[in-house]
């Protein structure tokens, strides 16, 4: 194993079967499709970047799709998420319109943020995605505020706060988790431990075997799961969401996963080996889930292939739509600085 995260309990075969049974075929197929859409979206975004149609940078989550889709699966439509700079999967899993999302990547007026935010700041406020964030751990204190707002409004909505392993070493993490705990807020903290900040590895930057161990420092439950196993992620986050919704106890869930691509477009992968990357590719979360659905006879292999193909086709259509959208008009440049 190339990870130094202490081994965690894999999902038992019995539990895997129970979970599969508890979810409808439609939901299971939708989850597989959302993972494929994320993969296809990011591959397309990468292609458009290479063609110079997308500028700036982007942070791809290829290899991490189960963490995003599995975490968001137990949420209700009206629940909220707050995302990260590596947030395309969160956005898609929460139900974003791929056309508007792609238009945002291309900086177009019809994009989610009118082309003002781009990949790193994409938000779908009406859809409950309160935004990706260009600052590591930037979303964590805000998630506490959202939780506070939800509590004061006496709703039973919850929020998932996504962040990475690097963010767990920011001071913001400490202040926010403590506040969520002492105020009994309906927040689920999902740490996507992909084992690298930019180049700083989990192995070098932590002296604890698991990030979820930090939960005990705030008096809240913590759990580490296989972040490349959609059902394991779903199982842990589902429990955490119930706890947040019904008991107002926050949870720290750690999804151990791996990003196949570099941190951003400038990354030459000098800090890890090709072998390590190849090893993790054999744990592809999408293939694993698709194979399981076929094995469990939820879908046929033809259906699995159909889901993959339709996801790629949908992304092609989204890109075509986005390219046809207008650029923001220059006279609107200062709109939206103030309300």
């Amino acid at each position: 194993m190339s990870t130094n995260v202490e081994p965690y309990e894999p999902l038992s075969e019995k539990r895997r079967k129970e979970l599969t049974k508890s979810l409808s075929k439609e939901v299971l197929m939708d989850s597989l499709q959302k993972m494929w859409k994320t993969r296809a979206f990011e591959e397309k975004a990468e292609e458009l970047y290479m063609l110079g149609k997308i500028h700036g940078t982007m942070h791809l989550s290829i290899g991490m799709e189960a963490s995003a889709v599995g975490s968001i699966l137990p949420l209700r439509q009206e629940d909220l998420i707050i995302s990260t700079h590596r947030g395309h999967g969160h956005c898609i899993a929460k139900g974003a319109d791929l056309k508007l999302m792609m238009a945002e990547f291309l900086g177009k007026e019809c994009g989610y943020c009118r082309g003002r935010g781009g990949s790193m700041h994409i938000a779908d406020v009406d859809g409950g995605n309160l935004g990706a964030n260009g600052v590591v751990a930037g979303g964590i204190p805000m998630a506490v505020g959202v939780g506070l707002g939800l509590k004061l409004q006496k709703t039973d909505k919850v929020i998932i706060c996504f962040f990475g392993d690097g963010a767990a070493n920011e001071g913001a993490f400490h202040e926010a988790l403590n506040m969520a705990a002492i105020y009994d807020l309906p927040v689920v903290f999902v740490c996507e431990n992909n084992q690298y900040g930019m180049s700083g590895s989990f192995k070098k930057m932590f002296r604890i075997p698991r990030i979820s161990d930090r939960a005990s420092g705030y008096g809240i439950p913590g759990i580490t799961v296989d972040g490349n196993d959609l059902l394991a992620v779903y199982d842990a986050v589902n429990v955490a969401i119930d706890r947040a919704r019904n008991e107002r106890i926050p949870t720290l869930v750690e999804n151990v996963t791996y990003r196949w691509r570099g941190h951003s477009k400038s990354d030459a992968n000098r800090y890890r080996t090709k072998e390590e990357i190849e090893e993790w590719k054999t744990k592809d979360p999408i293939t694993r889930f698709a194979n399981w659905l076929v094995e469990a006879k939820v879908i046929t292999s033809d259906e699995a292939e159909q889901i993959r193909k339709s996801a790629y086709a949908e992304i092609d259509a989204a890109a075509e739509f986005a390219e046809g959208c207008a650029e923001p008009a220059l006279e609107t440049i200062e709109e939206g600085v103030y309300a």
């Binding site: 707050i82 938000a123 600052v135 805000m142 202040e175 600085v337 309300a339």
Partner: protein
């Protein structure tokens, strides 16, 4: 006017209380603001009146407070945060500068962040280097935030109510030495628009442009100068952003001489911006003398009483500088 006199501090408390009574979305969060009543006593009694859910004692987590009000504002609440001393806003600025100020624009105008962060600023209490700063210009420099700095009890109340009702992040800066000053304050709730300066004293010889504690000192200086036959106009900006350029320009065109006055360190302070605004306006042609800035020395606020006193402008410094300017001796 009712004729009722209360302090600046009481006026701020009254604004908070009346807005909390009017709008259940308004809540307060900060360090020791509950039973303790806040380090300066601004929120004293409010927890007893509104409960622990609406007057929330926070851990000593300034970044957490800033995040809490930003996130809560995103859910439609109207939170008012308190930073105990403005110096500690350094610890909260990531959420204010990178998140609260940017969200609306960054999300294409599709989110609103109606929050207020209150903070006391300034020296004169012997609290020395880390509890005496005036850092307002850092935030003036961040598009997306409004910056308010009232000088009287009545304006503190009206501007705070307006700030709470405003749909943008507002940094509300309270003059520490003003807390105990008294003035007439109407009992009923009222608002004063942001971005509107107030001419505190009409004059024809020179214009002093200032805000917060320095308004009080400028008015005292103006009274002394009047005895020498120098007629000073004092403009209280009240809000630094948005800035009431119109009032500034009109006054400079009238007097032809400008003294810009603030407590914050001179270099990189708001005075430079004001000088710039005047220089690029039509008022430039009306200037009879160079624009003069009188501001805090470029140094930390020292502990020693005498040294502290001489670090920032006092009435006698204002009198002297204004006199020279009026006589065209600069």
């Amino acid at each position: 006017m009712s004729g009722r006199e209360i302090t600046y501090l009481e006026a701020i408390r009254e604004a908070l209380r009346q807005e909390m009574q009017r709008d259940e979305r308004v809540f307060l969060i900060g360090e020791d603001i509950g039973v303790y009543g806040g380090a300066f006593g601004v929120t004293l009694g409010l927890m007893q009146e509104f409960g622990e859910d609406r007057v929330i004692d926070s851990p000593i987590s300034e970044l957490g407070i800033a995040g809490a009000i930003t996130g809560a504002a995103l859910t439609g609440m109207r939170p008012v945060g308190e930073i105990m001393f403005m110096d500690f806003i350094t610890l909260a600025s990531e959420q204010l500068v990178n998140q609260a100020a940017k969200i609306r624009f960054m999300f294409g105008g599709k989110a609103t962040v109606p929050l207020v962060m209150r903070a006391p600023m300034g020296s004169g209490t012997g609290a020395a280097e880390q509890h005496s700063q005036s850092l307002e210009n850092w935030f003036v420099h961040v598009p997306g935030i409004k910056v308010v700095a009232p000088s009287t009890p009545a304006e503190a109340k009206g501007l705070l109510i307006e700030s709470i009702r405003d749909d943008n992040p507002v940094l509300f800066l309270e003059g520490k030495l003003l807390y105990k000053t008294k003035g007439e304050v109407p009992e009923e709730p009222y608002t004063i628009p942001l971005g509107k300066a107030d001419i505190k004293r009409d004059g024809r010889d020179l214009t002093i442009i200032t805000y917060s504690i320095m308004v009080k000192r400028a008015l005292e200086a103006a009274d002394q100068l009047a005895q020498e036959g120098i007629d000073v106009e004092v403009i209280d900006l009240r809000t630094l952003k948005p800035l009431d350029k119109e009032t500034i320009i009109a006054s400079v065109k009238k007097t032809g001489k400008v003294l810009i006055l603030h407590e914050a360190a001179k270099t990189g302070g708001f005075g430079g911006e004001l000088a710039g605004v005047i220089s690029e306006s039509e008022a430039f042609d009306y200037l009879d003398a160079p624009i003069v800035r009188l501001a805090g020395r470029d140094m930390p606020i020292p502990y020693n009483r005498t040294l502290e006193y001489h670090t920032v402008p006092q009435v006698e410094n204002i009198v002297e500088t204004a006199r020279k300017l009026a006589r065209r001796e600069v």
